[in-house]
Structures are given as C-alpha cells and as structure tokens.
Amino acid sequence: MSHQIEFSGVKKVFGTGASAVHAFGPVDLSIAEGEFISLLGPSGCGKSTLMLMTSGLLEATEGSVLIGGTKVKGPQTDVGVMFQDNTLVPWRTVRGNVELQLEMRGMSLSANKDKVDQLLTSVHMEDFADRHPYELSGGMQQRAAFCQAMVHEPKTMLLDEPLGKLDAMTRERIRSDLQNLWMQERPTVIFVTHSIEEAIQLSTKVAVITPRPGTIERIIDIDLPFPRDFEVKNSPEFAAYVRETQEIFRGYGVI
C-alpha cells in the first residue's frame, strides 16, 4: 500500500529559549492514498500547525513530512488547502474567487470553465456564482471557499475546520456534499474538526490528538459503509464509535 503522506517524528516549537512554545508532536503517522482522516483534538493542540507543516507553509522544527515519497520543503502545489479563516477576497465574485486559484497557478480559465461550473453546481452554488462573498451566508461562503481550495484538482486536501463556524443544520448539509465529492474524486483528505460525530461520519480514520503539545492518542478506524447517511448515523455501530471517542476526551477532562 502506497503511503500518500508520511509524518516521521514531526514536531513544532514556536520561538526559542524561555518563551518557546512546544505546540505539536513529535508525531509519526502514515496516511494512505484516498484516505479521509479527521484530526480531532482540543483547541490549541496544534492541528492548524500540522496542516501548515503538511502544506509546506510552515517548517517543522524536527522530523519530516513526506508526500508521495518526496520530502516537503517549500509550499506544496499539489495540495488544496482550506484555511481556518476562509481566503475569499472581497473584490471578486464567487466564480472569480474560484478562478483566483487557477490564475495564481497560471492555469487557463477557458480550459477550466466547465470544471468551475461543475464544482459550483456540486455544492449548490451555481446560482450564486456572480455574487460577492459579502452577499453570502456563512455556509455559502464556506462552499465557495471549498471550491476555491479544490478547483485545481489536488491529490491531497487539507481542510482546517471548514464547518467550524456554521450552524448545525448547514453543517449537516455541507457534510453530505463534502462526502459525495470525496467519494467521486477520492483525494486524500486531512480534515480538522471539533465535532466527534462529524469526524466519525466523514472519515475512514479518526486521529484523536492530546492537548498541547499535541500527539496522537489513538487512531480509530471507522469501519462503516459509505455513503454515511441518516441510517448509518443512527446505527448502534456509529453510536459505539462516538462513545469510544467521547471516553478519550473524558479522560482529558475536556468534556
């Protein structure tokens, strides 16, 4: 089995000397191609830090990240990143924002027009393509940001709390869109969330992270059939996974 992403002894310390903050690691972790892995952990445990190190936007203090066998040194262009705060620019429409990703990469807009339309349609944003971000609800903004992050068809997607600020109902709907997209394209996804149910519903694996400095407490294989709709979510197996995860957090004193 080819490992798409390999973390070995990855550790991050911010600053030096007395004011140094040991934010994350050391962590060893292998993620297979096409896997959907959720990082579940308390606030400040270093999840965003790990995302940035994976995308090559932040250098690890120790250890290394390998993507497709190559060591991550600078920014990785075959990765789609959805940052914790969305990167929609106010001067462009939804379509313009999606195209920004293509333009920044020097990719042809005309050749990718269908791709952009298709992507917007797949997240039900086709009617809002010509709106500006400030005309959209939080949920629609996240849908647009999602299209922006994946329009260049990256093999790996890093999603940092993409649904974090949304209300429960919107979350639920975007989750199923997200799952459909993943099932079609099967990119490798690292997904950060605070919601135990969300992690279990979407993921093939859930990595539970300890409080800062974050290390991996346990990796839970979620052995449930896709698509994980209403039926699956109400199954006793699903409930058992939720319970198992909750126990770990109870142990931290977080819940």
Binding site: L52, Q101, M104
Partner: protein, 245 residues
C-alpha cells in the same frame, strides 16, 4: 433634512446681519456676497485656476512619488529600518512652517506653492501606503504562497487590490490637506491665487469678497475630494466603506 438646515443657516446669517445691525465691513449677508462676488467673477475664476493648478500639480506629484516609495518601504526590510523612521520623524514637523523658507528661496511664483502642497500630501500617502502593503491578512499570505504564484502574480492579484482601501485613506487625507496647504502658502507670499485674493480683500475691508474667495476655495477642495472619492468608488466598489456610503 440636511438641505433644510443648510438653507436655514444662510437665512439666519442673512437676517442676523440686519437684525443685529452688524457693519458691512465686519460681516456681509450672503446675498451681498453673491452679488459682489459675481461682479468680480473674472478675477475669482482666474485665481481659482491658479490655486487649482498648484493643488493639482502638488497633489499628483505627491501621489506619483509617494506610492512607489511606500511600496518600496513596505517590501524592503532595509528601507524599513532606514528611510521609514526618517519619514516618521519628518511627518512630525509641521510642513507648512517651511513655507516662508521656500518662498524666500524660490520667490513668489508657482513652484514654492506646488512644493508646499506636495509636502502636505506626500506624508499621509506614504504612511498609508506602507500600512496598506504591510497588512495583508495571514490567510491570504498563506493562500498566495500555497498556490506557488510567485511575487508578481501575488502582487497583482492579491496584494494590490487588498491594499487599495488603505491607500485611499491616504489619498483622501492628502486631498483635504492640499487646498489648505495651497491657501496658507499663498497667504505667506504670493501675487496671485485665492489665498492672495482673500488676504488682499480682507485688508481692504471687503469681507464680502473674502467670503466669495473662501467659497471658491471650498469648491476647489470639494472638487478634488470628490474626484478622489469617485476614483475610490470605481476602483474599490466592493469595499465596506464604499458599500455603506
């Protein structure tokens, strides 16, 4: 509401001069300002042109020089440690205090006024440009890097549009400074222009004409500010300040 208040103000002015029996050489009613101003319109228009020329030349030179300098300082750590503190220090000096010196060096002509206008416009534009080009959000910086888009593309597609609103804060501030700078420079030493006119007619006990001069000076200031605001509307219609305004 605003219009009514505005008209009310002038009506009050008109009649208070009569009611309180204020001598004409102290304060004139608006009707007389219009009448006497109209009689002297040729001179007023010519002087508006002169002062306008000083304002436009000084302002546009300031934009043309301050913007690239602000950009250079924002992107160069060496300039930020050398030129930037120097500019901040100079900013503390009231530029208008240089006016007598410039006039003694360069005479009564156009050039010293243009320089004064330039100086009072230059600093707000530079300082706001530096701020503008240094305040790209962390996310957009990371996003740009993640695309591998390079310095130039990042500048054109992300940094520049993101910086425009703050740049316009500088442009507008400078636009307000410009007419004030020109008028004061003319007070200090000149033989034409609206500042010169206001000073002369006031000396001749003609507040009516002084007010007419002030009116044209105001018109000049408003026109420049209006042009800058129009440019802002065209260039950054998406910005919150424009959408609300």
């Amino acid at each position: 509401m605003f219009i009514a208040f505005f008209i009310g103000f002038f009506v009050f002015w008109e009649y208070s001069v009569i009611w309180f029996d204020i001598p004409r050489y102290i304060l004139t009613p608006p009707s007389l300002i219009v009448e006497k101003g109209a009689a002297d319109l040729d001179r007023l228009l010519y002087y508006t042109y002169i002062t306008g020329l000083e304002v436009v030349l000084g302002y546009s030179t300031a934009v043309v020089l301050a913007l690239p300098l602000g950009l250079a300082i924002a992107f160069s750590s060496i300039l930020k440690r050398t030129v930037y503190p120097f500019i901040v220090c100079i900013e503390m000096v009231p530029k208008i205090a240089f006016a007598p010196l410039f006039i003694s060096w360069l005479g009564f002509g156009l050039l010293p006024k243009v320089i004064i206008v330039f100086l009072v416009c230059f600093f707000p534009i530079v300082l706001n440009a530096i701020l503008a080009f240094n305040s790209l959000s962390e996310e957009l910086t990371l996003f740009s890097r993640s695309t591998g888009g390079g310095v130039w593309r990042t500048f054109i597609k992300v940094r520049l549009p993101a910086a425009l609103p703050q740049c316009f804060v500088g442009f507008k501030y400078a636009a307000i400074n410009a007419t004030v700078g020109a008028a004061i420079a003319e007070f200090i030493g000149s033989d034409e222009g609206l500042g010169f006119y206001i000073q002369i007619v006031t000396g001749n006990m003609r507040p009516d004409l002084a007010f007419a001069g002030i009116f044209f000076l105001t018109l000049l200031g408003l026109s420049l500010f209006g042009l800058v605001t129009l440019a802002e509307r065209l260039l950054i219609p998406w910005h919150i300040s424009v959408r609300r305004g």
